[in-house]
Amino acid sequence: MEVGRLPISAALKGKLVSAGYTSLSLLSSLSPSHLARDLNISENEALDILNHAPHDGRIDTSGGHHIISGAQTAWDMLHEEELLTRITTSSVDIDNILGGGISCREVTEIGGVPGIGKTQLGIQLAVNVQLPVHCGGLGGKAIYIDTEGSFMVERVLQIAEACWDDMLANNAISQNVHAGQVGMQPKDFLENILYFRVCSYTEQIALINYLDKFISEHRDVKIVVVDSITFHFRQDFEDMALRTRLLSGMALKLMKLAKKFCLAVVLLNQVTTKYAEGSFHLTLALGDSWSHACTNRIILYWNGNERYAYIDKSPSLRSASAPYAVTARGIRNNVSNCKRIKLM
């Protein structure tokens, strides 16, 4: 029996045979986790077995199936998803409706009227991604692509300082204080935000193409924020069909980036009015075909005197709204008393 020739222990060989793996070809299409479960052994041992089995391709540890290359079983995906952490938005209410925060490996679109806090949320996420995992971040760097010039460095510093204050306060209370944690100064947060200024749609497309190479050289990037995705595509585009093609090309590339490098992609969008059912509604810009492009969509809106975030589209989260506030310290939960005196 071919399996008998593998340089593994007799016990393992016995398990293989009784599970039905009599020939090596049956092993070549398996993922280590699958084999481990089948044989009731540890994943390391399964990996060891598979490494010894001759195969015509390299072991695809993400679980490639021999019949269709690149495919993955839903079971393997579930395991991966459970391991993914999310990036907190600093507002507990929004985090709750998002299932913990902005998720990695997905493209999230956030849109709203001017002044609602899109750039503020983008900056908050760029700071939060740098927090250690137990504080709601991913311990990584951020790429901030600014197409409108609305990135205010002083505001980033203000938010970083508030974040650092919060971390200090929490560390004073919590028992698990690791050595290097409080070592992060507010200015260090600024050093981990890689800022790109894009001045035309050509540069925008070029940059998104280039990000693949860039991020492979900067593997600690864990979030890409584009503020906003819309700006350069709204003016003087006579050929709408071209615009749609370019936008969908961009969306696909961003999705690929998110999956390949396991990072979060956040796209900020503007609003426009649309005539439907006899009146004008507000809707996110770039048209109907773009609205299909992103995995998740969050709309920030005013409800009376308060700011709310609404999950408009998500494959796994239910539609819900949560209030939030933009404060001098950044995005926070909404304090119900909105008659506030100056916060500076």
Binding site: G149, F196, T202, Q235, Q270, F280, L282
Partner: protein, 360 residues
Amino acid sequence: MASRPISEMGLPKSIANVFAARSIKTAKDALSLTEFDLMELADMGLAEVTSALAHISERVSPPYQTALSLLEQRIQNEQLAGHLPTGLKGLDEALFGGIPFGVITELVGPAGIGKTQFCLKLSLLASLPTRHGGLDAQVIYIDVESKFSSKRLIEIGAQSFPEIFYTRGMAQEQMAGRILVLRPASLAEFTESLQQIKLLLLERRVKLLVIDSMAALTSGEFEHGASKINPLGWHISFLKSVGELSRIPIVVTNQVRSQSSDDTWRYNFQVGTRHRDLEDTSKYDSQLIAALGIHWAHAVTIRLILETISALAFPFSITSSGISLLNDDGIEVVGQEISTIHCDGHSEIIHSDTLQFHRQ
């Protein structure tokens, strides 16, 4: 960057030649096509096309900077760390130092509230020497509605900075001499002036651009919802890019118009509450919103609403020396109302639950 020729990008000769033959001459041409379009046009395989595009993209991408180096650069190189102080202490604090460079700041409010006064004061401040807190530079003032008054400008100068304007007799001529006033009579003339201004801005002699008012240029031409293409679209992106490149503050004034029933400002998931509001039509007549529409609103970075109720409100009065704040602590107001304007003119006294404001 977008118009960089393909020939200069160091692509393999064969590919560059094929592109040129198919009139793909600049980066913009190449990147405006999808991979499949390029494959078909240039008759090349996917791998070649992908690597050519990756090569071009890398050359055309803008370079990056860390946010920290951006901050340090501004503190070191720019006057006053990239802000033009307005002299209104509370406002300057809220704006991290003053009107920011490189972005568009909008002043919006009803007629007679003081937008032009504010612009005059800012023009004066920019023309002052640096030791008095100015930018020591020329100013371009685009006066669409013929509201610029040089007599008033001198008066503001004399009242605000008596030590400069009286001890140095030439001061008036010098300050006023630095402010270039343009009076375009139509949108076409305005467009032309902008092109000329670009050169002056890039030569770094002009350090403030004031447009008073933007709304007057299109008054009536642009109807809400009528056309997909905004007639000011080109101007908006031009102003933004020129402001960025030359790192100067751009101040633009905007008018107000009354809110029509079409301005529902709601998304379709909020439909439930709409019917109630539609019936309450009495609300609409008294509400004013900024003119120029939502597209313009997205393009401005800072919107200062000269009004009694705005996101962070500073009660002010117009005096002989320009504008002065009644107190330096602002009052924050939230809600959709940061986009609406309640006051109708300067004789109104507004009461609200928490505070009382009036214009003197």
